[in-house]
């Protein structure tokens, strides 16, 4: 095992700011993109449902 405990793990040998600054922004970007795409999908589906509802039934 490389780490003797969680404190040492999170300290990253004194480079915590750089290592966690990289990984956290990376994770945030992926999370944000996923949320954007899900919202875009919900928006277009909502819009389609509205149009479908307003159309008179044949």
């Amino acid at each position: 095992m490389i780490w003797s405990g969680p404190a040492e793990f999170f300290a990253m040998g004194g480079y915590a700011f750089y290592v966690w600054g990289s990984f956290s922004v990376f994770a945030l970007a992926i999370l944000a993109e996923t949320i954007f795409v899900i919202r875009r999908r919900n928006q277009v589906l909502h819009q389609l449902r509205q149009e479908h509802k307003n159309k008179p039934n044949p």
Partner: protein
């Protein structure tokens, strides 16, 4: 001939839409699996670097983001070229769907690079050939997206964006070979086909697993975005109307 017909069958949004929908969970699942394995190896198996200490662990996402930004650009330019030559709707939709994910990876490559550069080089940023050409890649992604969005007629926007994407593809080999062609502060390639990797096997494994995770993620994300684009673009067609009636 038969296979050609089948291939073209999936080139229509109507048939590709449900196929993409079935593929997304598999790619997303593969991305999560590779990421879990890659992060475990990257943080708990790969040893401390003798020269850089723990900060080198940025490599596991930095290399993945950089590779994917270049690869996505080439795939996007490829779809753009197919779209321009065959005039297929789906190709342009894929080109549009890839651009934001590519821009995100180009940004992440620069961001993680800056956070790695500060403690190892003493500078967040230098106007080195590798860094500068990667910055240009980010601007190209943003330029393609802006151009596509700026033209009201979507088909014309597609063609304008496609042209810029194809011309800009020249930048990808420049990024890739920049560390060989010029004297750069950025280190040379860590992995190359011609010789054995210059790093510990576990470090390499972590890097490759994270790259695979990003690759699978990009496929899932671009398919999901392409599905949105298909619905937005083909709103007034019969197949989307049928779908709107059935889909929750």
């Amino acid at each position: 001939m038969l296979s050609l017909i089948n291939w073209f069958r999936y080139a229509s949004p109507q048939t590709f839409y449900p196929l993409a929908g079935r593929m997304i969970p598999w790619f997303a699942g593969a991305a999560a699996g590779f990421a879990a394995a890659g992060l475990y190896i990257g943080f708990f198996v790969a040893p401390t670097d003798a020269q850089q200490g723990q900060v080198y662990r940025v490599i596991f996402i930095h290399v993945a983001a950089s590779w994917l930004s270049m690869f996505i650009y080439l795939v996007m330019a490829g779809w753009a070229a197919i779209g321009l030559s065959l005039n297929t709707r789906l190709s342009f939709m894929m080109a549009r769907a890839l651009a934001p994910t590519g821009a995100m990876f180009a940004f992440l490559s620069l961001w993680t690079g800056a956070l790695w550069g500060k403690p190892t080089w003493g500078a967040w940023w230098v106007w080195d050939a590798r860094l500068t050409s990667e910055l240009i890649l980010l601007f190209l992604f943003l330029g393609v997206m802006a151009l596509q969005a700026a033209i009201d007629d979507p088909r014309r926007g597609d063609r304008a964006g496609a042209l810029l994407a194809i011309v800009g593809a020249i930048n990808v080999p420049i990024i890739y070979f920049s560390v060989i062609w010029w004297n750069t502060l950025h280190q040379g390639a860590s992995v190359s086909i011609a010789r054995a990797p210059s790093m510990a096997k576990t470090m390499l494994a972590g890097m490759l697993l994270m790259s695979l995770a990003c690759w699978m993620y990009s496929i899932a994300m671009s398919l999901a975005r392409a599905r949105c684009i298909m619905l937005e673009r083909e709103k007034h067609t019969a197949w989307v109307a049928d779908l709107a009636g059935s889909e929750r």
